[in-house]
């Protein structure tokens, strides 16, 4: 009896590990393959014989994409757009989510719900109206325009996530600070923000990564190299007669480096932040 129970448990363990490893492979394999490809020569990539690792590893793909294409400009544009998005979201979103969390005002719940509703529509639906709005304000093909477009779907997310952190704080803190001489904004900056800085950092980085990787809006709202971001630029390198796999792979690897670094820096805080906000603890 005990033996068979133990055997069943062992089988369950094996199945669980099997499923986990399968999905890990499924998720990581393309990235690993991207990295492998980026070190292969053009000849090795298009060869009919498949090689699982670069037989003659080279770095020319990296040198070429950095030196001979507009890739550095694309990266700078992406950086600019991302910074703008994060600044807007952090400034507006922090104030908004704090009010939603701590104050009573008419229309509060309707507004919060509305933010969620916005998230329910596919982004494709918003693109044409957004395009028209941006054209009207002369924001088409600018980093600011793109950043504003990103806030349309990232700001609600930011507000909902930050509200969770603010909800977990005792409401008396702000009152104490006000009696001690702070204004409401002063209390927020001096007393409240230091307490939610982990959550704030995690949420801001969440927004930064989403904005850095965004493709669809960038494709529609940018038309020149003046504001085009790297996902679009990389895609446009695919020409009618050529498909520079090596360069694309190198570009892809370079582009995910900032994300990996950011995530590595804050992953502990981020996981802790996200869960602590979730369970009010």
């Amino acid at each position: 009896m005990a033996k068979s129970l133990q055997r069943t448990k062992r089988i369950h363990d094996w199945v669980a590990y099997g499923v986990a490893i399968f999905f890990l492979f499924f998720g990581l394999a393309p990235i690993v393959w991207l990295i492998i490809t980026s070190f292969k020569s053009e000849g090795e990539i298009v060869n009919t014989v498949l090689t699982y690792y670069p037989h003659n590893p080279i770095a020319t793909n990296y040198v070429d994409i950095w030196r001979q294409s507009a890739f550095p400009t694309l990266m700078m544009n992406s950086l600019q757009t991302t910074i703008m998005t994060v600044v807007i979201c952090v400034t507006v979103g922090t104030l908004a989510s704090y009010s939603f969390s701590q104050y009573r005002f008419p229309g509060k719940y309707a507004l919060l719900l509305f933010y969620l509703v916005v998230r329910m529509f596919p982004a494709v639906l918003m693109i044409i109206p957004l395009f028209l709005i941006m054209r009207f304000f002369g924001l088409l093909d600018t980093s600011l325009g793109l950043a504003l477009a990103y806030t349309s779907f990232l700001l609600p997310l930011f507000i909902w996530m930050m509200k969770g952190f603010f909800d977990a704080l005792p409401p008396d803190l702000e009152k104490a600070a006000r009696i001690d001489g702070c204004t409401r904004i002063g209390a927020l900056v001096r007393v409240i923000l230091p307490l939610v800085r982990n959550g704030l950092a995690a949420t801001a980085i969440f927004v930064a990564i989403a904005s850095w990787n965004e493709y669809l809006f960038a494709l529609m709202l940018t038309t020149s190299s003046g504001s085009r971001t790297w996902p679009v630029g990389l895609q446009l390198m695919i020409g009618e007669f050529q498909l520079p796999w090596g360069l694309l792979a190198a570009g892809g690897v370079i582009s995910i480096i900032p994300v990996v670094i950011l995530f590595a820096l804050v992953q502990q805080t981020m996981v802790r932040g996200l869960t602590s906000g979730a369970v009010k603890g």
């Binding site: 009573r104 005792p170 008396d172 803190l173 009152k175 104490a176 600070a177 006000r178 009696i179 001690d180 001489g181 702070c182 204004t183 002063g186 007393v191 230091p194 307490l195």
Partner: protein, 366 residues
Amino acid sequence: MEALRIKAVRKKFGPLEVLKGISLDLEEGDFLVLLGPSGCGKSTLLALIAGLEDITAGEIHIGDVIANDLHPRDRNIAMVFQSYALYPSMTVHANMAFGLKMRGVSTADQDEAVKRVADMLDIGHLLERKPGQLSGGQRQRVAMGRALVRDPMLFLFDEPLSNLDAKLRVQMRSEIKKLHNRLQTTVVYVTHDQVEAMTLATKIAVMQAGEIQQYAPPEEIYNRPANAFVAGFVGSPQMNFLPGRLERGNGDPRLRIEPANGATECTIPIGSLVESSLGNGEEVIVGIRPESIRPAGSSSTFTFDAAIELVEMTGADTLATFILGGHEMMARLPAEEKPALGDRIGLSFDPASVHLFDRHTTVRLN
């Protein structure tokens, strides 16, 4: 001089009127306790005094200025919260000095003030710690220290002892009392604990449903409650209430207790307890405090026999539940009285200690 004057203050949250015209005056050095059950509006009144909520109508004067439109920082007040509300990211020293810093006091003066108060409260050794590293009692002291450092006109306490365990609560209660005796500061203190109210206050405002039911010194609240609500809220165990009827026949007026559950009737002679304006047959509520009921044999004038339903020993005294005229009542007897369950024992009380309230308006009649 008056430290606080509240005139016809009302507060509405949307359609809900939480405070329905509160008026009271407080002399400098007084210790006012706002006492009432949860939801009675006492914490809202405190928030209005502090300036944390806006007043719907009425006036609040702090010292000799109208504070209605003043920012909390300009009201010359300090507040101690139930949750302590210490700033978790700052040290104890920084917590205590924060209010001074915000008012532009020099660092040297801040340090001196913090040190003076820290010594007074015996928290000098905790100054470099963060609130998270302190026990509940220590946090409570720091919260009081933060208020004392500023030396304000008015101290506001919002149920400051509710989060402490029973032993610590009694200890801190005495310390607050000593502190008040020594510093003679003006305090407004919110609590739902009537023992805290009775022990600390120089004046109590008993509140219910957004109105002050009685505003008087503690002895008066206890000895002459203005209505049945105050009588029932203050005192533990609660005052016994019996439905009765005033009878003015030939001779002394008497109270006829209306029997319940088919019990036999009982009448209490009350002598000159009530004004002659009260008419014959007036419907009243008869209130008798459990501690007014003694074992029979003393010099009291009203004696009766009652069957004991329940006996609870507290150590200091014996709480006996019995039935009189079909109504359940409680007596607080000396500890050496140990009646057995079901015993019929003789009990008595002085009719002069009886409280009478109007059956319909619940207002005090004697």
